[in-house]
Symmetry: C2
DNA sequence: ACCTGAACACCGTTCAAGT
DNA sequence: ACCTGAACACCGTTCAAGT
């Protein structure tokens, strides 16, 4: 059982590793979800990737740089999910928002360590790099797009789109944190997670729906 | 500048330390907010408290135990704030909820590292101890109390109190995480934080207000 | 250009020994 | 009962040297 070459992280066929950069990111994601952030060591990641413990430093600016790459990948995934929800329900902003919310909560509760990482659980907020903010911005833009279209169609109200977006994102993300942290809900029970997510989405929809109900609104 | 005895963490006057337990918690809180979680070491906490690096192990079950105590203190603080908001606005559930929400967001943005710690950013969720859940439960009970009274008074609607509580807590906590993690808002600008918190509270209040508006509701 | 292995300073934790 | 200091295994990071 000397798992020196696992299926997911194959050994290279030469002195140089073909694509060590992404191999390291995958290894880090794997160890992160398996052992938790506090037990994640650079040396273990390198060992799992099949290289010496100093090799990663040619590809990332230390441990923080590697974790930053993992967080970025998470935000990119989020943006893809949100845009997918938008495209799946054309001309139905409520359904788009519900689908995006449920997908977010489901993914995040299935990948708790990555989620915590993405929201800065391990770096002093001052030195969170700008590239990470840019990735979060992409996901934010997806929600903004859904809500902005919904407001133009007269489905959603609110004074300005940004504050509606913030409220919508906040409930969904807050629910996720409560599920992960409270012990009141078993994250491994997909039905319960989904039901909670739907309920919370409905509450926020009740809060942001246009009050006129006619489809047009005061300029 | 050999700050071997600071004002906040005074040296003891004998071989035994009078109250090392709480001195260590205070030292940990201080270093946590100053340097961030990843830079917090047990040895530094001990040095700041003025004892040898092995002394803390008589009082806490390792580093995890010390951080657990810090997180517990945070939840207790939260519960006090929520109950304070309740008592400050008798018979006005909307004002109670707004006050609790704003107080929460303000405290959490001023103490970002402690907040991340409380929500499990550094422990595998499986082994978050039961005592921590109990403290979170106290804070949860405070919100529950406000919303339950509001529902009985006909101010709030919803199918069951728990799901309303979850939505309310989620927006507020989610907003906090967004402020800390997004870089879109400067947490050091109290006016902006307060304004955002109020807007988000109003959105959720719009979502949970009773639809009858008369003060009584179907049993 | 990319990877290795020795080296350094640090860390968490334990345990016999001191007061 | 509480605290110390040496000890151990580990970690992040650097750097001359190898391919």
């Amino acid at each position: 059982m000397t798992r020196s070459k696992s299926k997911s992280f194959p050994a290279r066929d030469s002195y140089h590793h073909g694509d060590l950069h992404s191999t390291l990111v995958e290894a880090a994601e794997h160890l992160l979800e398996k052992q938790g952030l506090s037990a994640l060591s650079m040396r273990e990641v390198a060992k799992l990737a099949g290289v010496s413990h100093s090799a990663p430093y040619r590809h990332f600016r230390g441990k923080a740089g590697l974790l930053e790459a993992v967080a970025q990948a998470g935000f990119n995934r989020l943006a893809v999910m949100i845009n997918g929800a938008h495209d799946a329900y054309p001309d139905d902003p409520e359904a788009q928002l519900r689908a995006a919310g449920v997908a977010y909560v489901e993914w995040a509760t299935e990948n708790p360590e990555r989620t915590h990482l993405m929201y800065g659980g391990m770096m002093k907020s001052e030195d969170v790099p700008e590239t990470l903010h840019a990735c979060a911005e992409d996901a934010y833009a997806g929600i903004f797009h859904i809500i902005d279209e919904g407001r133009q169609a007269g489905v959603f109200g609110g004074d300005d789109t940004d504050s509606v977006v913030i409220s919508a994102w906040a409930v969904v993300h807050g629910l996720t944190m409560l599920i992960l942290g409270s012990g009141k809900v078993n994250p491994a029970n997909p039905g319960e997670v989904r039901q909670l997510a739907l309920r919370v989405c409905d509450t926020i929809l009740d809060g942001i729906r246009s009050r006129t109900g006619t489809g047009d609104q005061p300029s």
